[in-house]
Subunit: 264 residues, 2 copies
DNA sequence: TAGTGGTCTAGACCACATA
DNA sequence: ATGTGGTCTAGACCACTAC
């Protein structure tokens, strides 16, 4: 093969930089960690071809079976994609994490399940140290939060007002990026790309409350001015909250997919 | 060991009943399927000890490594629990699944998270072959379904109208039990106890629609008579639906915990 | 045709739980 | 002391992909 030397060199560099020296982890866990870290660092970029099982079995202290076990786990976790005959590549999360993650209105016309298209428009962005319901999950502790207000339009028919909160020190890009560039952007995808962290768990709650004045003009009011508000907290693997988001749901006919629920 | 013969006999019966004859699945997938099916059937009940790796390697056409791979996957999926030195047991979901499963309104007074108490009252029960939105998830195919209408009262303040659907042939006890005995009963727990059925996943959806006439008088109307309806489909480990349930949520101040969301 | 991942095996050694 | 699951290995065969 032509690129054999270069590939082997990259594989060696990978092992030198990321293989955990003396750890309490087992070998297949260490290899998983090495790939998770290196992908998060950008050493392996989306779509890039990884070393083959054989190369890894030679350049690491793992046997073929152990390498296979680690790669299988990484594949199941969605970090890489493996194809028999052609190799393993870093999963391209940009393609996978399709835009409407939280706002998935079921389109009954589509056989086998499908969703209406969603458009977003940014209304406002603020940097504030104010406390609120988002403070506790985000562990704000007086720090600055970026708040971004958007309108989601589903099927060119249903308007949803959304308030997004994230710690400024943790995700400075939300405070820095030009406002116009935020339009149509998928925040979840952006966070995944910049930080390489897949968001595994979402805490979902459904709140019933009278919306604040700046929201009222966008949403249909229920009895007594109370509307349903879907609240989502995106959690990192260590349990820390990455962002906090409210969706003021209008009382218009439709069916919103909330995914599969687990407890704990 | 004392129970060796009995255990081996159970292991043999398991393989005879659940091992897929000629399938396109690989061996470790077939073994996983056999366990998922048998656990869903109640052949293995919650907390019951499973055959050891060695027993399975002998009673199935799988080698030890293949058995281990299948059991590892089942453990990761939360279906079984494995402890080195003591064996593998069916995960006891009854302990994890506390009483008010779907209707958990957050009580802000309780530190660290707590929920308002819930009371239930049965209004009506019907046995019908009618089709509806529940038919497809339940795979009704013209069979009889038991429909039970209830009122959930949260914190002696919020009334929620609920419609519960289950296949009669699958859960005849819901059609047989006296109506009065259904009051205050937790259906989910009842199913777990009677059948030893673990409820693996809950598909949650939030629908917005005008409720049927018999519901209208119980719920607060929103604009245009549209109210939010929480729909829950309880899925067994093998992917079959155990029941289908709608909750007509009133527009009264409150916060409903929907648990943690996953996709796929 | 050569290389890749997918599956499966037989066997080894170890850490842990139970009696 | 025995049995359990957890890890790891070396090697085999196969299905698929790309060249």
């Amino acid at each position: 093969m032509a690129g054999g030397d270069a590939a082997r060199e990259l594989s060696g560099e990978f092992v030198r930089r990321y293989w955990p020296e003396s750890d309490e982890l087992s070998k297949h866990e260490r290899l998983q960690k090495a790939f998770a870290d290196s992908i998060a660092d950008g050493f392996w970029k989306a779509g890039m071809r990884l070393p083959t099982e054989m190369e890894l079995a030679q350049s690491t202290p793992c046997s073929l079976g152990t390498v296979q076990r680690a790669l299988r786990a990484l594949s199941q976790a969605g970090l890489i994609e493996r194809r028999r005959g052609s190799g393993s590549v870093v999963a391209d999360m940009r393609a996978k994490i399709d835009d409407p993650w939280h706002i998935r209105y079921v389109d009954p016309e589509i056989e086998g399940g499908g969703y209406y298209p969603v458009e977003t428009r940014v209304l406002d962005r603020q940097l504030t140290g104010r406390a609120g319901t988002w403070s506790e999950p985000l562990r704000q502790r007086g720090a600055q939060v970026v708040k971004i207000d958007r309108i989601f339009t589903v099927d060119q028919r249903i308007d949803i007002y959304s308030e997004f909160y994230a710690l400024e020190e943790r995700f400075p890009e939300f405070a820095e990026i030009e406002l116009a560039q935020l339009n149509g952007l998928n925040f979840k995808r952006m966070l995944s790309m910049e930080h390489g962290i897949p968001f595994h768990r979402m805490r979902q709650r459904l709140r019933f409350e009278a919306p604040p004045p700046h929201v009222t003009k966008y949403v249909e009011n229920g009895t007594g001015g109370i509307v349903p508000v879907l609240n989502v907290v995106a959690l990192a693997p260590n349990g820390e909250a990455n962002y906090y988001q409210d969706f003021y749901l209008p009382l218009k006919a439709g069916e919103l997919d909330l995914g599969f629920a687990t407890r704990n």
